[in-house]
């Protein structure tokens, strides 16, 4: 009964709230059922007033019932919804901002759980302050009536100071244990300046850390989880899978530091799994399949680049194509009728149908061939699981380009191949498998085993080859010889200037199907590969410019 009543309140105030927040794209909030105490339900999550999952806000009826003695239900609901909407419209706004704030908080507090709590508190302060500043809201009244722990009291006192509204916390209460000092520090933070949120959360965390550490200790000794946040918890649930995807992509691009990305992803791995987030093949889905943060990093980083590939003429695609006309007869399929030569009529003797044959001949049909990527993971290359490897990033960009064009990719990851330092992945379109092999690092010497490459190239008339190495290959002559025999398009990227690279370059300079790119600075690889591959695959693009 009460549930319906609350729902009707929401329906009544929702148009006003939407207008107040400038019409956010958020569905009508719902009410969560009030548990029946006689049946032993309840307690769990009663302290949480608002839940948000994939943009669906849900008001906890039990919480509103608890609060109704202190303030009218309508005002409680309005305050909770004001707070919830502001998370979508101002702070944190998106998953990337959330991750960034979390990462900054973790730098100060050093602990995963503390950092999560800290970023949630910070986000709440910003959201509430934004509401109070910009909109007429019941949030101050809600704070006045909420049950408060030590940290909530300190934050309420902060609100008193920065909003100039009495929330019922006497200053004398703050003089103990240096809480007034903490509030004085917190009050100096420019919460509403989005451009300074990074430094602001560090300062926020520095000031609030002793209180949070103390509370964590107390909870640890009590063996409990502590008080619930009445304005909602577990903020990762706010985001849809697409938003999480985009957030990770942006975060990878912004940090460009593998260790930072890895830290954050590993810290959020449970939540990411809970949100059903994963990649094809199941990484991150289900129990016991841990998220490989390294692979995810290269995957997300590579998604920020796009390499256009010029399609090449392919022979004998195996599909049927219209070849010549023949008269239509009753019973022949209508779908093959050529309406132009039949004058729009279905009549024996006049109507003509297309006779189809398997496509042959060059120039008409274009497609993207499969690609064999050879990547050097010897000791002279960067370990992609330790720091950002531009070789892996370059190969990842190329992989994406081929997969996006419907082609398959094979990987030959080698160091000292004849001695077993190699991993071979046959042609596949499974991105996760490809990345897993790309990210493997063997170290040690560098030698190719051509016996491994031949089976991968045999029987494939149209095949592109892509090799990334520093060219310090012991049997470089054998590689040169191999490239001399094949007619496939080869893109060779080598890192740095060295005599081996010069020798390779000189040896294949007359081969028109081989393009060599020198990278003097490793950092240039992704950019150079992108640009030069475009030159190579799409010469018309250059002519235009």
């Amino acid at each position: 009964m009460e549930e319906q009543h609350y729902q009707s309140i929401i329906e009544e105030i929702w148009p006003k709230l939407r207008r107040k927040h400038l019409y956010p794209e958020i569905p009508m909030p719902k009410v969560k059922g009030i548990p029946d105490p006689e049946q032993g339900e309840g307690e769990e999550g009663e302290g949480v007033g608002l839940e948000m999952k994939q943009k669906q806000m849900t008001i906890n009826g039990a919480f509103v019932s608890q609060m109704k003695d202190k303030m009218p239900e309508k005002r409680v609901i309005e305050a909770l919804l004001d707070h919830g909407i502001t998370h979508y419209t101002f702070c944190p706004w998106d998953f990337h901002t959330h991750l960034r704030l979390y990462a900054e908080a973790k730098k100060v507090v050093g602990d995963k759980e503390l950092a999560k709590q800290m970023s949630n508190y910070f986000i709440d302060v910003i959201a509430d302050t934004h509401c109070v500043r910009k909109r007429f809201t019941e949030i101050p009244e809600l704070h006045r009536n909420l049950k408060k722990g030590t940290i909530e009291e300190v934050i309420a006192f902060l609100y008193q100071k920065i909003w100039g509204i009495d929330l019922g916390i006497p200053p004398s209460k703050m003089s103990v244990k240096g809480h007034a000092d903490i509030v004085r520090r917190l009050a100096r933070i420019p919460y509403l300046d989005r451009s300074r949120w990074g430094e602001s959360i560090r300062k926020f965390a520095r000031s609030l850390k002793p209180l949070l550490v103390e509370e964590q200790k107390q909870q640890g000794s009590k063996g409990g989880k502590g008080e619930h946040n009445p304005q909602g918890e577990d903020y990762l649930n706010h985001y849809s899978n697409e938003e999480i995807d985009q957030g990770l992509r942006d975060y990878a691009r912004q940090t460009m530091v593998l260790s930072e990305f890895k830290d954050v992803v590993e810290d959020f791995s449970d939540e990411l799994k809970g949100a059903g987030y994963g990649m094809e093949g199941g990484m991150g889905r289900g129990q016991g399949s841990p998220i490989d943060a390294d692979i995810l990093f290269y995957m997300k980083l590579a998604e920020n680049y796009s390499i256009p590939i010029k399609k090449v003429p392919l022979e004998e695609k195996g599909s049927l194509h219209p070849h010549s006309h023949s008269p239509w007869e009753i019973g022949s399929p209508f779908q093959d009728v050529d309406i132009w030569t039949s004058f729009g009529k279905i009549m024996p003797g006049i109507t003509q149908i297309w006779t189809k044959r398997e496509g042959k001949g060059r120039g008409k049909m274009e497609g993207t061939p499969d690609c064999l990527i050879a990547i050097d993971s010897s000791g002279s290359m960067i370990n992609p699981r330790k720091s950002l490897s531009y070789a892996v990033l370059g190969a990842a960009c190329a992989t994406n380009a081929y997969l996006q064009n419907g082609s398959k990719v094979a990987i030959y990851n080698f160091s000292d191949a004849p001695m077993g330092g190699k991993d071979i992945l046959n042609y596949t379109d499974q991105r996760e498998d490809i990345y897993r092999v790309l990210c493997k690092y063997f170290g040690g010497g560098t030698a190719l085993d051509l016996e491994d490459l031949i089976p991968l190239t045999q029987g494939k008339k149209n095949l592109d080859l892509f090799i990334i190495t520093d060219m310090k290959i012991t049997n470089l002559e054998a590689l040169i010889g191999f490239f001399g025999q094949i007619q496939n398009r080869v893109t060779a990227v080598h890192i740095g200037d060295n005599p081996y690279a010069a020798r390779f370059e000189k040896a294949v300079e007359k081969r028109k199907n081989i393009s060599i790119y020198t990278v003097k600075r490793k950092e240039d690889i992704p950019h150079l590969v992108l640009g030069r591959i475009r030159d190579y695959f799409n010469p018309t693009h250059i002519k235009k410019s």
Partner: protein
């Protein structure tokens, strides 16, 4: 030819009931809802904090202009004294709190705000800020600071207590004049050199030349003392054990 003052009204080709289509502002509804944007005390606090920070920053820049020409600054007795006098001059003009000093320390690492961090002059300037602060007890939470600031606590006067959360660089607490300096982390070489009185508490380890030409006061080290300097007068304790005056009289002795 003169223009007519009131141009003839164009006759509408739209039916009268649809004339409103062209006159109605599609955002009209937003106009009616002009949400109040009250000035919060936060705005004022942030604004005044920024203003104070600007003045502190300008003082530091002037100190660099006068004392660290071509960005070179040699740590010598004369240069320290002279830099401190210049710092005092600018610091006296600013009304600030201990939190402003802490903010300044972090701003020093933000190259977008302050062009150069030269650890010597920066330390002298921060010391002057601490010595002229209104508060008797100052706590600086600097554990996230990447740079260890030198010369912090220089000439800390009697009645003042300066507590640093984090590590400090060389020449910490030199010339201490009766104040109490507490370092929650480690401290480097020449700590307490030339101090005349007061107390230095280092919670962790300390470097070489500790208490060089120290004239009085006490140094307490919670961890290890890497080496003592030539001490004239005063006491040095290592993990509650008196190491000077005591058996160890040789400078820079490894324990």
């Amino acid at each position: 030819m003169m223009k007519s003052p009131t141009p003839p009204k164009k006759s509408s080709i739209l039916p009268p009931d649809k004339e409103s289509w062209i006159t109605k502002n599609p955002f009209e509804e937003f106009k009616t809802f002009a949400a109040p944007t009250p000035d919060l005390p936060l705005d004022q606090i942030v604004q005044s904090t920024e203003a104070v920070m600007d003045r502190i920053r300008r003082g530091y820049e002037k100190l660099l202009e006068e004392e660290a020409k071509e960005l070179v600054w040699m740590v010598q007795y004369n240069t320290i004294i002279k830099a401190y006098e210049v710092a005092e001059k600018y610091v006296r003009e600013v009304d600030y709190t201990a939190e402003d000093i802490e903010d300044f320390c972090f701003a020093l690492e933000n190259t977008q705000r302050i062009p150069y961090l030269i650890p010597g002059p920066a330390g002298v300037y921060i010391s002057a800020l601490c010595n002229y602060a209104m508060e008797e007890e100052i706590v600086l939470k600097l554990s996230e600071l990447k740079t260890e600031i030198n010369l912090i606590g220089f000439r800390l006067s009697k009645g003042k207590r300066l507590m640093i959360e984090g590590d400090t660089g060389d020449f910490t607490g030199i010339g201490l004049e009766g104040g109490e300096l507490v370092i929650e982390g480690n401290s480097k070489n020449w700590t307490g050199a030339g101090m005349r009185g007061g107390k230095i508490l280092i919670k962790k380890n300390i470097g070489l030349h500790t208490g060089e030409w120290m004239m009085g006061g006490e140094i307490y080290v919670g961890g290890r003392v890497r080496g003592l300097g030539n001490i004239v007068e005063g006491k040095v304790y290592e993990r509650d054990k008196l190491v000077y005056p005591g058996k160890v009289r040789y400078p820079n002795l490894y324990y």
